[in-house]
Subunit: 128 residues, 4 copies
């Protein structure tokens, strides 16, 4: 299946985001060799040029590097990945907070909601 894209943000930007998430989430481990541009493009159902552009950007950000002959690898710098992770998380938080405050929730309300979730997940079932 080809991925799904929003038609308001450029596809290459969405690719960057998705690849970043996959690296941070460990789909592609630290130092791991990535599939070829052609394969990645095919998997995502986009033009190889578009995928190339995304990868170049990710390289510029330091999340991956390419060696002429051997291929393209995820960075071995865990701090780098950690930083990317934090950035992504912050983005999620920001988006989430915007949505929730737009719905009329205060941060304190939200924290309360999350604590509820935490208890829900902690113990399997306390009282039916």
């Amino acid at each position: 299946m080809t991925w799904s894209f929003q038609n308001d943000t450029p596809i290459y930007a969405q690719l960057i985001h998705t690849m970043k998430q996959q690296i941070v989430a460990g789909v592609y481990a630290t130092g791991e060799k990535l599939p070829s541009v052609r394969d990645l493009a095919a998997e995502a159902g986009v033009n190889p040029n578009t995928m190339q552009r995304a990868l170049t950007e990710l390289e510029r950000e330091g999340l991956m590097y390419s060696q002429r002959t051997a291929g393209r690898f995820v960075t071995e710098d865990r701090n780098m990945i950690e930083a990317a992770k934090k950035a992504l998380a912050e983005e999620q938080v920001k988006r989430f907070l915007t949505a929730m405050t737009g719905l009329g929730y205060e941060i304190s309300d939200i924290i309360a909601l999350l604590e509820q979730e935490e208890n829900k997940g902690d113990v399997s079932c306390q009282q039916s």
Copy 2:
């Protein structure tokens, strides 16, 4: 402005979601007359039928009602709207949590992050 749609979920579903959000957020107040189907469709840049379908569904959910010739109105039942708001919030929370846990965060981490945000918003002193 025509709205933007993801190409993985049906447009009518996205319309439902957006309209719901707008009602909950008070863009369309309780009991207020909504624009005509045709106008809403034009505004969203979709076919009137598609908008119609979304509105029909919202009507079925009780968030609005239509009067043959007079037009379509937001429900006057605040509880209804409140319930919709809660449902939307829960959806946001769920989505957020899966994204964050996918990134490797525990709920406790997330709560900590949010508390940080809270303090940031509270006072203007920043000690990055």
Copy 3:
């Protein structure tokens, strides 16, 4: 509003049925003068010729008679009307029974259902 017709049975037949029902139900009383063909046709939203045909048939059945100058009248023969009533009732019963047996109900079941209805209608409310 113009009446509603099925598109499988001729309109004149449906007119006969409806007029018959109205006479039997007393909408047009025994011996009463009927509106003009033109008016009846307008009321039903059909061509006067079609209404004429229906009325002619009703005359043939003896439910009404016309006097050249004075107009058209419901029969004064109560037996006639009574018979028509029975015929209509029988038709209803037949249709009803077909539907219900088609649904898998036995006549005894149906009678039980109706007796329930009778009790329901009899007393306003016995127990909440």
Copy 4:
């Protein structure tokens, strides 16, 4: 054969009713695969979209479910079907009673009529 429709109620509503009746009556058995939307539409002589709408509604009511590629099936939940049957029967009874009382019959009269029918059906002796 194309079906016949009344021109006062929307076709899709009539389709819902007819399909429901057929399921309840066992024309389409529990769990059975239904013809394709297109075939059903052709059989009924309506546009596939109209038939689709009816089926969607029936799905929502739980009387059938669809599998992306395999087709559409009658629910396997006999209780569901039983409930639908009762609802249809109640509707028939209500309609019948209003028609008959409109003709001037009391419920007791009607029950008497039905008992007559019962006896008629029981033994073949007729003493008209």
